[in-house]
Subunit: 328 residues, 2 copies
Amino acid sequence: MATSASDAPELVARAHDGDPRSLARLVSLIEDGSPRLRSVMKELSPLAGHARVIGLTGAPGAGKSTVTSALVRAYRDQGLRVGVLAIDPTSPYTGGALLGDRIRMQDHATDRDVFIRSMASRGHLGGLAAATPQVIRALDAARFDVILIETVGVGQVEVEIASMADSVAVLVVPGMGDSVQAAKAGILEIADVFVINKADRPQVQQTIRDLRNMLALTERAPGDWTPPIVTTIATTGDGISELVGKLEAHWSWLDSSGERGRRRAARAREEVAALALSALRSKMGRLPGDSALGPLADRVAEGQIDPYSAADELLDALTDGAPPGQHS
Amino acid sequence: MATSASDAPELVARAHDGDPRSLARLVSLIEDGSPRLRSVMKELSPLAGHARVIGLTGAPGAGKSTVTSALVRAYRDQGLRVGVLAIDPTSPYTGGALLGDRIRMQDHATDRDVFIRSMASRGHLGGLAAATPQVIRALDAARFDVILIETVGVGQVEVEIASMADSVAVLVVPGMGDSVQAAKAGILEIADVFVINKADRPQVQQTIRDLRNMLALTERAPGDWTPPIVTTIATTGDGISELVGKLEAHWSWLDSSGERGRRRAARAREEVAALALSALRSKMGRLPGDSALGPLADRVAEGQIDPYSAADELLDALTDGAPPGQHS
């Protein structure tokens, strides 16, 4: 028998009223790709749309968790409620190890106005492209004012997730080591604010010059946003209030330029497309007979058919159900 | 007027005969998502299926390029023809910077039996999941015996690409720094062979113990492959022949266990699905009226409709073309 608390409208109402356990339950439903998500999302959608979403990304070792923690404190000092979603590049095979949660929750364990959750980067219905906007929507509907999305990896998916935020802060360290160099091309270009963390290390001025040179090469139309460069020492809190100020300025610009609406529409586009494609992907495997993905792929692997012809057959079977050969 | 050399059968025949310029042209067609790919793939498919595909992955700084170079030399010493495909995490916005190519080609510039190519990790029709198997097929049809796929990033996509290989070598460095820790969960589990490179550094024995402990925790059925651990100093060539031997042993196991066929079928499945999904994704944006992705996503962003209902409407429009409300 279902208890009333597991009923979708009830669960959403409780999360909206600030109950952290109901919110945690909602996020778990999203993580698990629960069939109840449909009814949950129907309830959540009208309640969301108010929170500011800030993405934090950068190579491992740049100090993302420390900066995130410092931002949580700064926003709490303003009286704002803060949600944190950390995307972990955990195993695609064994599910997410949520160690980070347990360690970091200790700082804010007694604060009902802070919610921290890790999410593994695999295993979601429709992938992170669908799950991330859903978790954002859940935190938003639970009346968090600021939602920080922290990505840990430096791959393409992480760049895409970070770019779902309203504002993206990209962290680098002075001198930029190998790994930052490797990731640079992908992550530097999505920055709305650059943060040179660990600014007590040598080569800060050189790193500022490097970033400025790179920015100078980017074409901008009048009225476009130019990413500012902030130096921080997150462990001591140095520079964090300046960072908060720059994020504030970006938020105002998003509003005045109309860019906020465009970014949110883009995020919704990715989400809806990911959900639809995920449904189509699973339908591909369930088609009857020789038009299903498995038998077609076997023929491709054996060189009997080329992949484009196989994809065509698959599309025909998906979109009208008629077996190949019966087309007019 | 099209010249005869740009004709698909002619181009494929020349690449098959060992002409590097024709092969380079084929890879460019794949990179560009050329409409001519259909006819090219039809010609290539029957010629492929012979090459051994070896994936190399690991965190930045583990020495992947040096190990790749050492493997190229080792296989060349056996008289084998070697193709290298390096997946670069280059910008999603400005396209691929192929600097790596130019630097590394110098070692093998005069050797027609070595082909090295970088590929950006974005911007391909159907994504890397479709482009990588196509480039593998092109190199295979051009009679390369061994194809090395080197991935540079440490994200989820890189793990997926590496796991398209017949054999996957995962590189770590002694002591395992932050970045390897971060990537560990995702990449260690796809390893068929572990390579501890830079084995002249301290903590090699500890790293071997760590990997062994991790392997001991993995359940294996009788007859399953247990990933061996090889130590190398790729700059001097130390350990490379042992690595080649372990890869050889894995190749034999793939054959005797039937796993090779399963991996190749899985690769073809990803490829065909990616091509079909890509076609569906672009169709989503072109649907007429309010059922297209854009207008539906706008309604989701404004909270007027939930994402699942939007995805349902989109699927209806995609699969039967009937406008919503006209269903029986």
